[in-house]
């Protein structure tokens, strides 16, 4: 084998694309060709550098979104089309946003990162992968469960009389912080309420927005920040917030 031939085989050799016979020929040729040996070492080094790059697995939010699509498609063929439209609309809005000025990783601000985390948290609840850590409608069971698991005592209220029975509670991470998540039910829908101590004083009225087809309510009441996520209608989200505020006030 002459050098140009063996040189041309270096890549195929390290890529495992040569037959056993070709590999043996190549290895024999290498013995007499220091240049090609050097070339092979370099190619291996380069390959090694690329292969030690850490893999970045699919984020939980992406997995949850895909899972949700599959479930929707599998369970409700009509509904699916509506969802598809929403996703298409979202994709289109992303495209528009890109057109307006591509800011790369800064496309999402702090607020939407929190929303992403909240939606992901809600999806973990709604998809029953991990519904609750403590299942009870009894606040005297749920509230003590958080002792020793969180650095604050979350207010826990069953809102059955308002049409939102308490299913239980769990812990989740929102923006790197461990928070209490209370899970409520509204008819066939689940609602995840994340709450943590407010850093500023005063109450604020619930602000209900929609993201990815979910309703998200944000408000501050009785010294706590509340974030509720669900696939109920925005109006029902407001009822929930009102009912919760009333319960918090009655407790004081």
């Amino acid at each position: 084998m002459d050098c140009p031939t063996c040189e041309a085989m270096v890549d195929a050799y390290i890529d495992g694309e040569l037959t056993a016979v070709e590999s043996a020929d190549f290895e024999r040729a290498l013995e007499g060709c220091p240049e090609c040996r050097k070339r092979l070492e370099s190619a291996r080094a380069l390959s090694g550098l690329l292969r030690e790059l850490p893999a970045e697995p699919a984020p939980d939010l992406l997995r949850a979104r895909v899972e949700r699509e599959l479930r929707t498609i599998a369970s409700r063929p009509r509904e699916r089309l509506r969802r598809r439209m929403q996703w298409s609309a979202m994709a289109a809005s992303v495209v528009v946003a890109l057109g307006l000025g591509w800011l790369g990783g800064t496309l999402t601000g702090q607020g939407s990162r929190e929303s992403d985390a909240l939606v992901a948290s809600y999806l973990r609840v709604a998809m029953a992968e991990h519904t609750v850590d403590v299942a009870s409608s009894d606040r005297h069971t749920v509230k003590p469960w958080y002792a020793g698991r969180l650095d604050y005592a979350p207010p826990v209220h069953d809102l059955t009389t308002d049409g939102f029975p308490l299913l239980g509670g769990r812990l989740d991470m929102v923006d790197g912080r461990k928070v209490a998540v209370l899970v409520y039910r509204r008819n066939q829908h689940k609602l995840a309420l994340s709450l943590w101590p407010a850093s500023s004083a005063g109450n604020s009225a619930p602000r209900v927005s929609e993201r990815d087809g979910f309703s998200i309510a944000e408000w501050r009441h009785g010294g706590f920040e509340f974030r509720a996520v669900s696939d109920v209608a925005p109006g029902e989200m407001t009822s929930f917030a009102t009912a919760l505020d009333r319960a918090v006030d009655a407790d004081r």
């Binding site: 195929a12 292969r51 030690e52």
Partner: protein, 185 residues
């Protein structure tokens, strides 16, 4: 990206088969999208849209290797999204965007070297970047790379060789070549 037609609406059994066959490759789909887009937000959008397209066309899947089949759809999805974006923003500008690959800092074992390698790879033009990712990160054989990129195997080989050469040059500027044994081209 139109809604599925009635005819191709997947039934429950199809969805279940899709879940078993394709869903295990979501990490690969996202990883490839991450390197194509060089943007974490877009990577998720591309990967998700690609999964939905894959389901829509799953009836055309004939039991070949699932991962390259899905990766090809990821690439097509990204191409389409770029074209749509192209109406608002010239491709050139997008290509000159500060290149961001997956951030190796997120790994506990992160080092300056990995960051440099990731940056060098991200800085390559797409046709070089994608073939290196498919070969070295996805570990696909030439035949499957040819299927993903829709080109003859001979083209895969020549393009891969060029991409390696170019990456080595990029890296020599960033890393000490003696330490890492990179070619002195």
């Amino acid at each position: 990206m139109s809604a599925m037609s009635e005819a191709s609406k997947p039934d429950l059994a199809t969805v279940e088969r899709f879940r078993a066959v394709m869903l295990p490759h979501l990490d690969a789909a996202h990883g490839f999208a991450r390197w194509l887009t060089r943007d974490p937000v877009q990577a998720q959008d591309v990967a998700q849209e690609a999964m939905l397209r894959a389901l829509r066309y799953f009836h055309a899947f004939r039991g070949e290797e699932a991962r390259p089949w899905l990766l090809r759809i990821v690439r097509n999805t990204w191409t389409d999204m770029r074209m749509k974006r192209g109406a608002d923003q010239p491709l050139e500008a997008a290509e000159n965007h500060p290149a961001e690959g997956p951030d190796p800092e997120q790994s506990a074992l992160a080092g300056d070297r990995r960051r440099q390698v990731a940056a060098a790879l991200a800085a390559l033009p797409q046709e070089m970047r994608e073939i290196l990712v498919l070969r070295e990160i996805e570990d696909l054989p030439y035949k499957q790379i040819a299927a993903v990129l829709d080109m003859p195997i001979g083209t895969v080989m020549s393009r891969l060789a060029r991409a390696r050469e170019r990456l080595a040059i990029e890296l020599r500027g960033r890393l000490g070549r003696r330490e890492h044994g990179l070619p002195d081209l």
